[in-house]
């Protein structure tokens, strides 16, 4: 018995010694990010480029999931010890303001230390709190409407017919496309609220007022968007799936005519090699009768944050990469990460005609990105988003829109009232 215990104890001690050191040294940058094919791959290319002039700086890239980064920030902030955090970490744009507002002691204000000229205004707004910049914009979530050109041709349409139109015009044309092809035009995940948020941002509207109060029940843009959306769902023009993988499945199987999403969806489309040459993109339909309505919006994307207490100058020196057109040009072919930095659209890989899509889509998307109206996310973005998604589902199932939105607003106010 004693022997066994002694052996176990010794074993435990030995194993606990074999720890991995985790200290920030001089000339070392630690980066946390997720997605080996996208963020990590692009950071690795960036690190190689940086090493040409700075061979002594060690750059360590760790794969950490977005939610784990957020959890780690919360834990470190509560513990009052930021040493467990890296120097640079990626953050989802939709969460950025929530994180900065709740954990201001973690994020470095880089307003006066970094040049934000050239980045899309809406993109930079995601990581701005009270006029101060906390994030360096990275990948775009610029929304595109992507169509299967072969299906459209079946119905006698081209992508040009679906460009610069309103939702009413879209509904008419889509109805015909659906009838002739027998396929829904778009597909989205039920209960996610993605579409509504895309549509309201295209008008420069938000779920919150400038002052930060929740603004759902008297928000004309939201009402218009939900009405349009629900109508399209009821007509079967939009197919609602129950999960992300089902939605990707409809694209892979060719059971829908297109998709309406952040431009990162192109990665999934291009992964289906047998559909090469059958796709093209265009801008969004606009909401009629809403002030400021445009054909451009955003969904998803992320930006880089710099932790307080790290060697900010070194980190920012490295992050100059994100003002470097060569960098965007280099990462595009392997990662399809699209820039939100305007000059990048002149880069050779951006202006080249994309074989799969049949046009220089990447330059087009950067261009779209510059026209996206900015919106307010704030700390309660996900509270409002969840509440609104509930209202949408109930409305589609027959409930009254005004009272549903009023209830959603109450729910958010409840959360804000603590």
């Amino acid at each position: 018995m004693k022997k066994l215990l002694a052996v176990l104890l010794a074993l435990t001690l030995v194993l606990s010694m074999s720890a991995v050191a985790f200290a920030a040294e001089d000339g070392k940058i630690t980066i946390w990010t997720w997605d080996p094919n996208f963020n990590i791959a692009s950071m690795k290319i960036g690190a190689d480029m940086y090493h040409v002039d700075h061979p002594d700086v060690e750059i360590e890239i760790q794969e950490v999931q977005s939610e784990d980064i957020e959890t780690a920030v919360a834990q470190a902030a509560v513990a009052g010890d930021l040493s467990t955090l890296p120097d640079i970490m990626l953050c989802q744009d939709n969460s950025f303001q929530k994180m900065v507002i709740n954990y201001p002691e973690v994020y470095t204000d880089i307003t006066d230390k970094y040049d934000f000229e050239g980045f899309g205004e809406a993109k930079a707004a995601y990581s701005t709190v009270e006029g101060r910049h906390y994030g360096i914009p990275f990948d775009a979530g610029t929304v595109v409407a992507a169509y299967r050109t072969d299906y459209l041709a079946e119905a006698g349409y081209t992508v040009a017919d679906l460009t610069d139109i309103t939702w009413t015009e879209f509904a008419e044309k889509a109805k015909e496309i659906k009838e002739k092809t027998g396929k829904p035009v778009f597909c989205t995940q039920a209960g996610s609220g993605d579409w509504i948020l895309i549509m309201i941002q295209s008008c420069g509207a938000s779920m919150f007022t400038e002052e930060g109060a929740v603004n759902l029940k008297d928000n004309e843009a939201i009402k218009a968007a939900i009405t349009v959306y629900a109508d399209l769902v009821k007509q079967g023009i939009i197919l609602e799936t129950n999960s992300w993988d089902e939605m990707i499945g409809t694209l892979a199987n060719g059971s829908v005519c297109g998709t309406f999403n952040g431009c990162w969806i192109l990665g999934s489309i291009m992964a289906t090699a047998d559909q090469s040459g059958k796709w093209d993109i265009t801008n969004l339909p606009s909401l009629e009768g809403i002030e400021g309505a445009t054909h451009y919006s955003n969904n998803g994307g992320s930006s880089w944050a710099i932790t307080q207490g790290t060697d900010v100058d070194l980190a920012l020196d490295f992050m100059q990469l994100y003002r470097n057109v060569d960098f965007y040009n280099a990462i595009l072919p392997t990662t399809s990460a699209i820039a939100t930095f305007a000059p990048a659209k002149e880069a050779p890989n951006y202006t080249a005609v994309n074989e799969f899509m049949g046009s220089p889509v990447f330059a087009t998307i950067v261009e779209y990105g510059m026209s996206v109206p900015s919106n307010i996310t704030g700390a309660y973005y996900y509270d409002a988003r969840n509440a609104m998604a509930t209202a949408i589902t109930n409305y589609i199932n027959g409930a009254d829109l005004d009272s549903e939105l009023a209830q959603a607003e109450d729910t958010v106010n409840f959360a804000m009232g603590f």
Partner: protein, 274 residues
Amino acid sequence: MTSSATGEKIKRVLMYAFLVIMSFISVFPLYWCFVSAFNTSQEVLGGKLVPGGHLAENIQHLMEQQQVFTALKNSFVNTLLVVVLSLTCCSLAGYGFEIYHDKWKDRVLGILMLSMMVPFVALMVPMFQMFSAMGLLNKYIGFVLPSISTPFLIMLFRSNARAFPKEIIEAARVDGLNEIQIFFRMFVPTMRPTYAAAATITFMNSWNSFLWPRVIMKTNESITMPMLVNNLTTGYIIDYGVVMAGVTICTLPTVIIFFFLQKSFTEAIAGSVK
């Protein structure tokens, strides 16, 4: 006579049919996952149910993206440590609670049980602070420590110890064995089925443990298999063939462990005691 024999036969056929159907329903998702490891992402999403020829490719992509061997090693070390330590610790406690049971020990057990009733989310931040302060982040011992003693295993051993014949203890005491010797020489061998069940379940729980390693494992050198599988499912483009290859590698150890340990549930306890 013959009619009851055929009746018996029909009953047996029905029972086997029932078991076969239930086994099929139970295994199907895992079967699909194994098969999908052989297919491309597009085929997986299309619901293909037969294996294709893309296993090598999927495994290759998996190896390129993720440190599979590191994760396997970490998961094995973590899990084996938990199984050995927690079986020892909890069987001692379960035996103690049952064999020497009195009012006070029952009360203590009742209080200890409270510890499993709070959702882990609420404990994540305080536990992180605790482990961070002790310097146990990114370490095996950090993973192991909270899982060694669980009210569940203690209760399992306690309830199964109830069937342990008290006369054996009395007889052993008369023979001059001390209490610790009785535990190791009499109780442990008799309780083999319970140990096997506890080992299986602890192995599985610890192998699949997901939230806790994400709290304390902050470097890629310390990731575990479930974290690796999660890494595969969060990108903009998800390659479902690669995901299923990862899931298959992650699931196999539990399946193998169970298959071998379940044999211990066949030996009747009575025989081994006498």
